[in-house]
Subunit: 334 residues, 2 copies
């Protein structure tokens, strides 16, 4: 910058002013002279120095369990796009659902003076969230509820309603022997879905404890759960998986073992990840508005960072996407 200033015969102050587009108080000719020099020397301002004085880095961190999981990949993409749009960069932190790793990342992000973080927690993130809070770093939680802290910003879908939609959908198609593949209840959003399932299935009189198994939100998790379910040799009309990746794993396991979907068994997923429609049969699923969640979370975070907004929780609607993995059961056969 001094170079530019010297060459233009002005002070650094003036150069700084024109680079920051402070329209005021610089003559057109000086401005032009500086701009020309900047272009000529391909000068790129030092953002680190800038950040040190302004205490603003225009970067946010995003912490998520697994970028290779299509759900989070989609979310990361939307967040990155929106962030770019608002003038922010994104530091990607893959936590592998490991709390210690999350905490390490949080400290690193804070030391880098990030302006805020979007946080999809893997488990109990109390410590990390407290560090964030005590350092006054804005954050918004997505997808994974946390219960360890009081009041915070978050964007979620209406999980309970989503589960209810799914169960009622199966019920209305005359499914009565419904299995449910739950997520690990140490993950709060999984627990929420599980509780909602229990609640609504009891209400409809189709609750069956034996037909509920808990597993990981992963393809392997879905396969394992399905294997378990089949091994108990009970009648199953439909399996409701509490995530699409699980459902996809389950479908694979079933097809491999000679089941026809949905003739022999119906499959319902949860999430509506982009590849859900790729399979044959296409997966019927409860959609979480992944893109909207990401977009909303990023907007909310930026608003908080820029002081235009208080902490708040936003919950978005789910949606039943009817495709080909669930059949109607005829009354006489049930």
């Amino acid at each position: 910058m001094s170079d530019i200033a010297e060459k233009a015969n002005v002070s650094k102050t003036t150069v700084s002013k024109v680079l920051n587009n402070r329209e005021i108080n610089v003559s057109a000719s000086t401005r032009q002279k500086i701009l020309d020099l900047v272009k000529q020397f391909n000068y790129i301002p030092n953002g680190v120095a800038r950040s040190l004085t302004t205490r603003k880095t225009n970067t946010i961190g995003i912490i998520l369990p697994d970028i290779e999981n299509p759900f989070f990949a989609a979310m990361a993409k939307v967040i990155e796009g929106m962030a770019e749009n608002k003038g922010y960069n994104v530091i990607l932190c893959n936590s592998y659902n490991n709390e210690k790793k999350e905490e390490k990342y949080i400290r690193l992000l804070i030391s880098k003076l990030i302006d805020g973080v979007i946080y999809a927690s893997g488990g109990n993130s109390e410590e990390s969230l407290n560090i964030l809070r005590s350092n006054k770093i804005p954050f918004v939680v997505v997808d994974r509820y946390v219960d360890s802290i009081d009041k915070y910003s978050g964007v979620f879908s209406k999980n309970s309603e989503g589960i209810e939609k799914g169960v009622r959908y199966l019920y209305n198609l005359n499914h009565r022997n419904i299995a449910f593949v739950a997520g690990k209840s140490k993950v709060k959003v999984a627990k929420l879905r599980n509780e909602s399932y229990t609640h609504i299935s009891k209400e409809l009189g189709v609750y069956n404890k034996d037909l509920i198994v808990e597993s990981d939100f992963s393809i392997e998790g879905g396969m394992k759960a399905t294997e378990e379910l089949l091994s108990i040799k009970k009648k199953i009309d439909a399996i409701f998986y509490s995530s699409d990746v699980m459902a996809l794993g389950g479908m694979k396991y079933l097809i491999r073992n000679g089941y026809n979907i949905p003739t022999d068994i119906s499959i319902l997923g949860f999430d509506n990840i982009n590849i859900a429609a790729l399979f044959e049969p296409e997966l019927t699923t409860v959609e979480q508005p992944i893109h909207e969640i990401g977009r909303t979370a990023c907007e909310l975070l930026v608003n908080i960072i820029e002081g235009n907004c208080e902490d708040k929780i936003i919950e978005l609607d789910t949606n039943l996407i009817e495709r080909n993995s669930v059949k109607r059961i005829h009354k006489e056969s049930s």
Copy 2:
């Protein structure tokens, strides 16, 4: 830091020394006193200030066309993991194959004083790469070759060999009417595969210009290409897609239209993304060692950054992964 220094009755210099683990020249008692204070006040050093003086940010940028594409998601994950392991953060830049966006990101990254970048280019990235070079920022190109600059570091798989493996595999299974779904040849790595295909199919005497169509490396691209291929009503034994996502799209289109794979038509992919094995039938494909590419690229970049290494190109082996989407054709039927 001054706070800590004051409370410990030492100078900032000393605090700095112990925080940076310069074992030398600080008494054990002073060291302990400082460490205690740091813990007590949960002090997190200001990395931005640090970076300003050291000219090192310990962050790298990764530029890729689409994080939602499973190929790049896998790569990003591996790179992020390895970077973390080496003490680096990762800024994620999704370029949507847009050169202008790439260039904008590059300038931003440079202004943030990133230590290096891993670059999966979408098209002609001459300008971006030149900016990087003239600012002396180390970079390593992955997956997508570039021809616009002279000498650079890169990690790729042996694309030509991979294509050759695929074609020979089909040929040895007595496929003669082989269609090829090429990527857009403005992408150099696609062009390379296409040229290799032409070369080897001519050598084997199975070259057929009509059976080659060009499309995008995407699910939709694969579907569209397949539709096109079927519309020309020529005999096709097998389709070789130059990427897995294309192959998956193609399979979907075929199954939807009543084709049985591999009975009616064989399908061969390229990449071996993680979901290739999820489908039924499981996709036979030419594997690119995605994880190894990511890992190697990150290691190479860090080595260059830390001055332990010159620019170099590394090419990794491909591998034919035999699954269930290609059948053997019996001599009499061909």
